[in-house]
Amino acid sequence: MTAELVRGQNLPLSRTRLEIRVSAGSPVVAAATLGDDRGRLLGPDQLVHPGSPALPGLEVPQQAAAAHRLAVDLDAMEDAVHRVSVLLALPGGAGGPARFGAVASPFVAVTGLDGTEIASYTLTGLDTESAVVALELYRRQDTWKVRAVGQGYAGGLTALLADQGLAGAAGIAAAVQDAVAEGRARSVAAPPRPPYGSGPRTVTQGAGPAIATGAVAPGEAASPPGRSAGPPVAASQEAAEGGPGARDARQAPGVGPVDYTHPARGSATPPPPSAPPDSPVPPVAGDATGWTMDERLYNQVWGMFEDLARSTAAYRSAVDFADARREQELDKALSDPRHRLGGAGEGARTAADERHGRLVDQARQALDRDLAQLVAEAEVVEPALPAAYARWDNPVWQGYQVPAEAPMALRLGDLHLPESAGLRIPMLVRLPLERGLWIDCGPTGLESAILVSPEELRRLATETAAALAARLLAVHPAGAFAVHIVDPAGTASGPLGPLLRSGVLSEPPASGAAGVSAMLARLTRRVDLVQMAARGGAPEALPADVDTAEHLLVVHDFPHGFDDRAVNQLRYLADEGPAVGVHLLVVGAREDAAEYGPLLEPLWRSLLRLTPVPDDHLADPWVGHAWIYEPPRVPPGSQVLQQVLAQVAAARHPWNR
């Protein structure tokens, strides 16, 4: 079993002929130093690097690569050698990463010659460092051990070598970089996704064979031939193994980038860290659990609702955090008297702004990714929705048929968040309605509504009520849903026209105080009787004029024409009605009812508030964002509402004895 080492941990080695495998997200230079028992370098020549790749018992590759194999024979080491430090350095040069923090954490493994891993170590936590001591193999009382070191140097190879006691470290480091640059120029093997995107890819044909073999990690020679079954190795190594003939054949001019990976082996080179996750599976409508398609779509829509709520929560949380952090950093910078003068304060401000911008950008990217996925899902889900879940402009309403049974839910409108302006989530509520609806025709908070005059707002509210009542009628089977209208002042005939003219109502709107109280009394009696019958388990005992169908009472212009008694009856209906199939749809404004004082507060609270214009007053159940609600609008000029109501009326008449 492999031991996964943590920084500082050591492990005794049971064998002396080893391979050290390195894999990194981008090409790195591998080197090693030989030190004495006190950790000092044995001498200026006790360093193996691409410019001087071999010492007894140790060889390193001559070029930078994303994966390396270093062959180590500890028995062949001179006796004075007590410590072998394995170093990794970024090759530098134009286009390449300059710090380990910008690439995936390098991974080193100590393996036997047969490929079995003995120990491995992932060098995490590196940031500005461009050179690092990855591992140490050291001799302790005649046993060799490996230790995970992970000591990075922001000063690069120069600083690292100087720290090991090497005189003239800068010169040697430069020699290493030169050798690497030379190796790169003649290199045939670009990593699968070269970070040197603009760098030279040219290959000098004549230089082929000799250099190719030189580039092979020395460990290859010592490896048993059956290595193909072993762990995968890097593309660069495979390339060299392919042999000059094969390579030349594939390098016909004009072929473009050559893929040197062995067709039968996977590449060990990790993909660049920025690689996007697997592209999401294209969304499918009805991709949720449920017994019926309607239920699956309902669950899918609620799933999208929750996903959007949570993605936005993640985004807002990140932005809040970024804001708070910037605030703190600025406070700190400003409280430092040294920053009051000169450009230091300005610098701190710029730095804080940059950090803020970076985090917000990242958060926005994550949100955009999620939004794109949800938008794609909405694009397939919307057209697949049944009439009860669909917008009025959905073609499904054009082919409307009176259903045989009521749906499980109804779309009351659309929901969205300011961050997701392009995405509308259908607001689906279960049927039968658990609470009455209130179309608020009073002034609302959103800016878009301020321009709408109060009269217009009232008209829109009544239209919204008509559209919702028509929706409820249309999605129920014929005769199973009755709509009653209370219109004390008789002002609703215009916007309610489609309902009144189509013949879907069994009686004209009740008007005047007398009409209101008669209607309320009748529905109250119905609620009482059905409640009693239900409690007594004797629904057959109901009088002939009381049925168990669902009723919707549309109260227009509340509370005009209502006296205290009527208001109390309405409250009773709001509380007790839904359980026995009597629902309320109240059009009114809280301000108009102010004279009733707190008496009506419970009524408003028991109703689901909807607005005739977009308004952000609905909260989701998971995070509690304020969602912007938009009522279902019939497209201008469309006759869909009239057509649907005509069908409902036609289906009703046989029942309307």
Binding site: M1, T2, E4, V6, Q9, S23, G25, G101, V103, A104, S105, F107, T122, T124, G125, L126, G266, A268, T269, P270, P271, P273, S274, P277, E306, D307, R310, S311, A313, A314, Y315, S317, A318, F321, A322, R325, L359, Q362, A363, Q365, A366, W622, V623
Partner: protein, 192 residues
């Protein structure tokens, strides 16, 4: 292949093939207290609770525990409270699922804790363990045993933190005392 972690040891959550893990599950299991005494109904159940605290640069941002089962962003989910523990056969009694790809960008550490809600110390708890599972294929990545627990009622188990482009897990195994994660906050902070 699973790694038996010892205290302070870390493992990278990079897959061997270079990809990163998409979702991990922190499972917590323990053995229900044996029924003792004459009255079988009068048991002293052990209720351990797993919690996860999400940190952004050492500031707690969100918590997932038995009263808040899903983080607001939806990336961390608790599968529900278990009040008595299991048979101690190795199954998870409480789990916390982490969708690493959906963790908000500012969250850089997620600390997992275990509390004894009923107040027993870990000396009295048997076969308690915490393990990290690759949720995509059910493979156990790391296991950490709570055996040899001392006279304390909580443990800061492990943290999953960002490392480079991926995530890393470090076993912490630090003892603490407290009934819920709130009591542990001072003890968690030094481990961030």
């Amino acid at each position: 292949m699973s790694v038996n972690l010892s205290k302070g040891q870390g493992i990278s959550l990079q897959k061997n093939d270079g990809g990163t893990l998409a979702a991990v599950r922190m499972g917590l299991g323990w053995k229900a207290a044996p029924r003792r005494g004459l009255f079988g109904s009068r048991t002293r159940d052990i209720d351990l609770d797993a919690s996860a605290v999400l940190f952004a640069e050492k500031q707690p941002v969100d918590v997932v525990f038995f009263r808040h089962l899903v983080s607001d962003d939806g990336s961390v989910r608790h599968t529900g409270d278990n009040l008595v523990g299991g048979v101690g056969a190795g199954g998870d009694d409480e789990s916390i699922l982490v969708d690493l790809q959906r963790v908000p960008v500012h969250i850089d550490q997620i600390v997992f804790t275990v509390n004894s809600f009923t107040g027993q110390t870990f000396q009295e708890v048997q076969n308690a363990f915490c393990r990290l599972v690759d949720e995509t294929n059910g493979q156990e990545l790391a296991r950490y045993t709570l055996d040899g627990g001392g006279a304390y009622t909580a443990q800061i188990m492990a943290k999953v933190h960002r490392a480079g482009q991926g995530w890393q897990m470090t076993a912490l195994g630090a003892p603490a005392n407290g009934r819920t994660f709130q009591d542990l906050m001072p003890a968690i902070l030094p481990h961030l």
